[in-house]
Amino acid sequence: MSDPRRWMEEGADAAPHERALLRAGLDMAPPAGAEDAIWAALSAKIGPGGGGGDGGGGASGSAGAPEQAATATSSTASASGAIGVAKGVFVGLLGAAIVAGAVAALVPTKEPPPAAPRIEPTAEAVIEPPRAPEPDVPPPEAAPAPAPATEDEPPKSAPPRRSAAAVPSASVEPPAPSPAVDPAAAARAERASRLREERTALGDARAALRAGDTAGALQKLEAMGDRFPNGTLAQEREALAIEALARAGQTAAASERAAAFLRAHPTSAHAKKLRGFVR
């Protein structure tokens, strides 16, 4: 028996759209910062329990401590007090949420600017496929050109295996060559500008909710929905609105909208949290 050819290999029996789907899985790499953040939480758990001599290490809480502690514990792991660790372990403090946020927040800081996302021009239509251009924006010049990107997107030269790169986009070409004359690039720039605006609106609403102003937050989110009815941050907007409703005591409305959200986006990063609002 020998292995069949892998789908991502040249000449394999896989259709372009199947490869395109698989390609997303190659990019499943941790964001910058996640490794250290998780190590910090991890070492807080294994450090003190492992003992092993270098006792001060685990308790000092400084950046250097985890390393000492872990080094010391590696040989005495079986004596560690970490019992039942596989269950109910939570990253301290903001935990998972921080890391989930870091996926979005940390990676891009090392990436090309928003105007030059890591996608090929044909991917232009992919971001919001079901949606018509918003009414107040002139349709981008490039709009008619792109076909569904999953169809005929030429396979990039990225290696088919082992997504070792820490940053998903590392294997893809940097910004488009001639943005000034490229209508697709102009459209991207336009969209990036709108995204910035949308992001700011979301930030304002978030700040209001943080301050306990649920009515204000809802108002801002509603205005944001009017301005960007099909915006890129529509998921975040809706999730925050559900939270605001719940905090305002409108649990029935929150439940109804959370259920609708989950039907529309069952695998969203917000799904877990939103299930808590469904009654």
Binding site: M1, S2, D3, R6, H17, L21, G25, D27, M28, A29, I38, W39, A41, K45, I46, A70, S74, S78, S80, A86, K87, V89, F90, A96, A97, V99, G101, A104, L106, P117, R118, V126, P129, P130, P148, E151, P160, A166, P168, R191, L195, E198, R199, R206, E222, D226, T232, A234, E236, A239, L240, A260, F261, A264, S268, A269, K272, K273, R275, G276
Partner: protein, 191 residues
């Protein structure tokens, strides 16, 4: 090699393995921690009969399985008292993030349809690039079983991909008014 070095070396592998086994981004930090806590605890039992990564993947597989069960059980509890404020913020490249999220969501939806054992074989083979022999050793299966699971997974993936493509075509088809999403309908201007 001390534990920190082991962690550094295997962290990306553990991360993407859990991700490919269906752990959501929001749960990944916890799950990665779980895996390394088990690795740390059981390291003395590791006898070097297999590759370290093979052994670690076995732990990932069990942790992912446990978390799948727990997630189902916890579906309806899990209070919402912590704000959903950890969304892409001012530093985020939201365009790239949105694109990534869409691609991943499609892939995950397909992988979610697979039983965990098929999913493991499929992702190890197609994405991690492991050989059938390595997978057989990792999952403690006969090689023939690995191949049959791969075949079943491929068939299921193929069916799902075809559905996904059909959906895309439907939405991409020129129409004066694209159908509004449930999200939009729900979110839209109700006061």
């Amino acid at each position: 090699m001390n534990f920190r070095q082991l962690y550094d070396e295997h962290f990306p592998f553990v991360w993407r393995s859990l991700r490919r086994l269906g752990i959501r981004e929001s749960d990944l930090a916890d799950a990665v921690q779980d895996v390394f806590l088990v690795v740390h605890r059981r390291l003395p039992e590791f006898e070097g009969r297999s590759k370290m990564s093979t052994w670690i993947f076995g732990i990932c597989f069990r942790v992912a399985g446990d978390r799948r069960k727990a997630a189902r059980a916890a579906d309806r509890r899990d209070g919402g008292d912590e704000p959903l404020l950890h969304t892409p913020d001012e530093r985020a490249d939201v365009a790239a993030e949105a694109e990534r999220r869409r691609e991943l969501a499609q892939l995950e939806a397909l992988l979610d349809e697979l039983p965990l054992d098929q999913r493991a074989v499929f992702t190890l083979f197609e994405l991690e690039g492991m050989t059938g022999e390595d997978i057989a050793q990792t999952l403690e299966l006969p090689l023939g079983t690995v191949y049959s699971r791969l075949r079943l997974a491929r068939e299921a993936f193929r069916r799902g991909a075809a559905r996904s493509q059909a959906r895309d075509r439907f939405y991409m088809a020129p129409s004066p008014k694209a159908p509004g999403s449930a999200l939009t309908n729900q979110a839209g201007g109700k006061r």
